[in-house]
């Protein structure tokens, strides 16, 4: 793991969180020998207060990471504390409720906390793993560079096609127009090349057209290859050959971009769960505290 937030200052916050958990477990074990534990004992109230304070502190990380000039420690340190204390909070909350669960707001708050921690854990995983994967996958080039290369390839393809006949020109034009990148949430996360192409519908007659998948530019390449096999003119043949190479390069480039969009999407997606769950947790936590003291 190269991620600095995990081993920040030699696992300083990891050990702090571990000590916190062990302390809570020890107190729980000692107290459980003397009396039946629940959220309503003195230890229960104490652990509950600690967990609530921790939850608010952890939620404040969202505010902290927006203010880059904050004087309170480094961003990496805050993130490290956020991660380890988040896991510790789950442990303390479980001890607070003495593993008593039911169909109520109290358990709802715990389940939301669990989901927040699990989604955060997913975030830790993707942040530790994906950035390296993404840059390796892109060959250390930026996405903008890749997009520029794609535009240039399209330009080259069009220029080459313009010197060939109308049929090839139309084929290339349609392939370029209907090249797919990104898309909706599911399309981005799935990462499939949904490129299409409009080609004559041979079954219905010359005038009819159909739209078929051009995944990996394979229809374009196949059609160009057919043209190439039928060609007799050496200049025409050379240009077709070049066009074929451009199409092949484009297929690789589109695949790279698609994979990049997918990995970036996965890198960010957990946050779209983590944040709403966090706000849901804060709401449930407030209601939990209110309910406990309302019916004291």
């Amino acid at each position: 793991m190269h991620a600095s937030f995990i081993n920040y200052r030699n696992y300083r916050y990891g050990f702090s969180a571990l000590a916190l958990c062990l302390g809570a477990v020890l107190a729980y074990v000692i107290d459980a020998r003397r009396e039946a534990q629940s959220g309503g004992t003195w230890l229960g109230y104490t652990l509950g207060t600690v967990a609530a304070v921790l939850i608010v502190y952890l939620a404040l990380y969202g505010v902290r990471r927006r203010s880059f000039r904050s004087p309170s420690g480094s961003a990496s340190g805050w993130l490290s504390a956020h991660i380890y204390l988040g896991v510790a909070t789950l442990c303390i909350a479980a001890l607070h409720c003495a593993f008593e669960f039911g169909r109520n707001v109290h358990t709802a708050a715990f389940v939301l906390l669990l989901l927040v921690v699990v989604s955060g854990g997913w975030g830790v995983y993707v942040y530790a793993r994906y950035p390296g994967l993404i840059s390796r996958q892109r060959g250390n080039l930026s996405r903008e560079t890749l997009l520029e290369q794609l535009s240039k390839l399209d330009g080259r393809a069009r220029a080459l096609a313009s010197t060939l006949d109308n049929r090839i020109q139309a084929l290339v034009d349609h392939a370029i127009r209907r090249t797919h990148l990104g898309g909706g949430v599911w399309e981005q996360l799935r990462g499939r090349d949904l490129s299409a192409i409009l080609i004559p519908d041979a079954g219905r007659g010359a005038a009819f057209a159909q739209i078929v998948s051009n995944e990996g530019q394979h229809v374009l390449i196949q059609r160009l290859a057919q043209e190439h096999a039928a060609a007799h003119d050496a200049t025409f043949d050379a240009r077709l050959q070049e066009l074929l190479e451009v199409a092949g390069e484009k297929a690789v480039l589109v695949g790279k971009l698609q994979k990049d969009i997918q990995l970036q999407g996965l890198l960010q997606f957990w946050l779209y769960l983590h944040l709403p769950l966090c706000f849901g947790l804060l709401a449930a936590l407030l209601i939990h505290v209110l309910a406990v003291f309302f019916y004291w």
Binding site: E100, V105, D154, A209, F269
Partner: protein, 568 residues
């Protein structure tokens, strides 16, 4: 549906573009920016799936996908019927319906914007999640509002709106303040039903004792409610020990601290107590001090009171009986009517139905088979009654008068031969003869009475005293017997739970005890062989509640104690 599409750049052949034309046979024509759309419009303002054109009720109709905006003949629409000559504007593209006749190909003329920049890939494609409809803000709000809608609003409504409560709470699937319940009610409280306010009378206030005593009217206090000791409980609530909504449900807290918080230093709280300070059973419980009966004065009938010997003083029972357990439990047996008989503890000691205490021992049930009360060994009819000395004397007198009257010669004149039994020839005894008969019977009765009381029968078990100055039968007194029944009235012990062990396992001194003054109650060390402190893991963990109860009989109603707390 057959659609013929003519695409031409707006403003003629600008930008070197040519008119394109294609025919599709589809049930519906899709329009949008995405790659698989039948009519693809490369315009950032056009949605990936923007609109659909399809036949509807014999006419052509355009429908927006979702909330996308379409302008038909200059007006914003989401659905519109199309006729020949209509123009549809989507983004910067204008689509003109050239032909929309039935049974003929639909013809659409598409005028593409000349500025359509196909090379601007980031504008035409959503390349990150931020550009999609995914919104953390939206989901956050939805979740927060959802949590409030389920867990707060209906619960507060039920908590504050009295008429709505029963309706909301009675339905399992309707959210109400039952979602605030941290755990199920104890089975014994199920009859309260879902009425939270039966106990939770006021918001943000602890459940009060009066809510408990509303139903539990007869519950007794821990201390005498007529004394100032009640003030010691001013800070305590029923709920301190009786915690509801627990999982698993347990109404009585088995926590020794609830007792030792006071009892570990009771003398500091209550200087006149004779109770010793108590900590955990395992190490800090004083030795048992059995409670004994003592006679109060010498009144008749006798009055008794309980005393507890001070710590360090050996307890001795003054039952006015003399009994040797050792004699009765001799291994070789004890002399009985049919030879030697080996006795067991349970031949005399039987638990009562609760199993807590032993049934009382009685002469008739337990002793009389061996301990005969006959004053003439050869005549079973000469048994005296047990328990009433006056009747003993009456029995003796009656016996000897009968003997006198039945003998042919008066027993007091046997020394003079020829003397005749009075009335032998006459029907009526003279007064003198009657006096002589009575005197003889009294004399004989006194002789036998002395033998029974002082030498042979009664004295074997009872303490017999002489009344100073008294004569005749009045000179003897059998001291009243009282055997302690409840040796430890402040503790609960169940013999029924200990039947698998032999009696002498705990009552270790019984087999060797020769005097009835011996108190054979086990010492605490015997209990500690099996019972440990409340956190002991090597023995049976025993908290205070295993042997003691808080609510003690005869202390007065708990409710009275609550009132005394309020109005001292």
């Amino acid at each position: 549906m057959q659609v013929q599409i003519f695409i031409s750049p707006a403003g003629g052949q600008a930008g070197g573009r040519q008119t394109r034309e294609y025919v599709l046979r589809k049930r519906r024509l899709t329009i949008g920016r995405a790659s698989f759309q039948d009519l693809q419009l490369l315009d950032p303002k056009v949605a990936p799936r923007h609109a659909v054109i399809r036949p509807h009720a014999g006419r052509l109709r355009i429908e927006s996908c979702g909330r996308e905006r379409i302008r038909v003949n200059g007006r914003w629409r989401t659905v519109a019927s199309l006729s020949e000559g209509d123009t549809v504007q989507i983004g910067a593209t204008t689509i003109t319906v050239r032909r929309a006749r039935r049974n003929a190909a639909v013809q659409l003329e598409v005028s593409e914007p000349s500025a359509s920049d196909e090379a601007d890939l980031p504008a035409l494609h959503s390349l990150s999640l931020r550009e999609t409809r995914l919104s953390a803000h939206l989901w956050s709000w939805l979740l927060v509002l959802g949590v409030i809608a389920v867990f707060l609003a209906p619960a507060l409504f039920a908590a504050l709106n009295v008429p709505a409560r029963p309706i909301l709470r009675s339905n399992t699937w309707v959210p109400s303040d039952r979602l605030w319940e941290s755990g199920p009610l104890h089975p014994s409280h199920q009859s309260i039903g879902g009425n939270c306010n039966a106990c939770h009378a006021a918001p943000f206030r602890h459940v009060g004792d009066t809510q408990c005593t509303a139903c539990h009217k007869n519950v007794q206090h821990h201390v005498d409610v007529r004394t100032a000791d009640v003030a010691l409980f001013a800070q305590h609530r029923c709920g301190d020990c009786h915690v509801e909504h627990q999982q698993p449900s347990r109404l009585i807290q088995r926590d020794s601290r609830l007792c030792t918080d006071c009892h570990s230093h009771l003398r500091q709280l209550k200087s006149n107590t004779d109770l010793l300070d108590v900590g955990d059973f395992g190490a800090h419980h004083p030795d048992f001090r059995p409670t004994l009966l003592e006679r109060s004065g010498s009144s008749t009938p006798p009055q008794w009171h309980t005393v507890r010997p001070p710590p360090g003083v050996r307890a001795e029972e003054h039952s006015n009986l003399s009994f040797s357990h050792a004699e009765h439990l001799k291994p070789k047996g004890i002399k009985a009517p049919n030879g030697y008989e080996v006795l067991q503890c349970q031949d005399c000691h039987r638990p009562n139905t609760s199993g807590r205490q032993m049934l009382p021992i009685s002469m008739e049930a337990h002793c009389s088979r061996c301990h005969s009360l006959q004053f003439d060994e050869h005549d079973p009819a000469t048994a005296v009654a047990h328990g009433d000395v006056t009747r003993v004397f009456e029995t003796l007198q009656a016996h000897f008068i009968r003997t006198y009257l039945n003998s042919p010669t008066p027993p007091d004149q046997r020394a003079s031969p020829g003397a005749r039994r009075p009335g032998g020839e006459r029907e009526v005894m003279t007064r003198d003869e009657q006096r002589r008969a009575r005197d003889w019977a009294d004399q004989q009765s006194l002789l036998i009475a002395r033998e029974l009381l002082e030498k042979r029968v009664c004295v074997e078990c009872h303490r017999i005293t002489r009344v100073p100055g008294a004569t005749g039968f009045a000179q003897w007194q059998v001291e009243p017997v009282r055997i302690t029944q409840d040796w430890m009235p402040l503790a609960q012990f169940s013999h029924a739970s200990h039947t698998t062990t032999a009696c002498t396992t705990c009552h270790t001194k019984a087999a060797a005890s020769k005097a009835s003054a011996d108190v054979l109650m086990p010492v605490i060390g015997v209990c500690r062989q099996c019972h440990g402190g409340s956190a002991d893991t090597t023995k049976l963990a025993s908290d205070c509640g295993m042997c003691h109860t808080f609510h003690l009989p005869g202390r007065g109603l708990f409710e009275t104690g609550i009132q005394a707390k309020r109005h001292p």
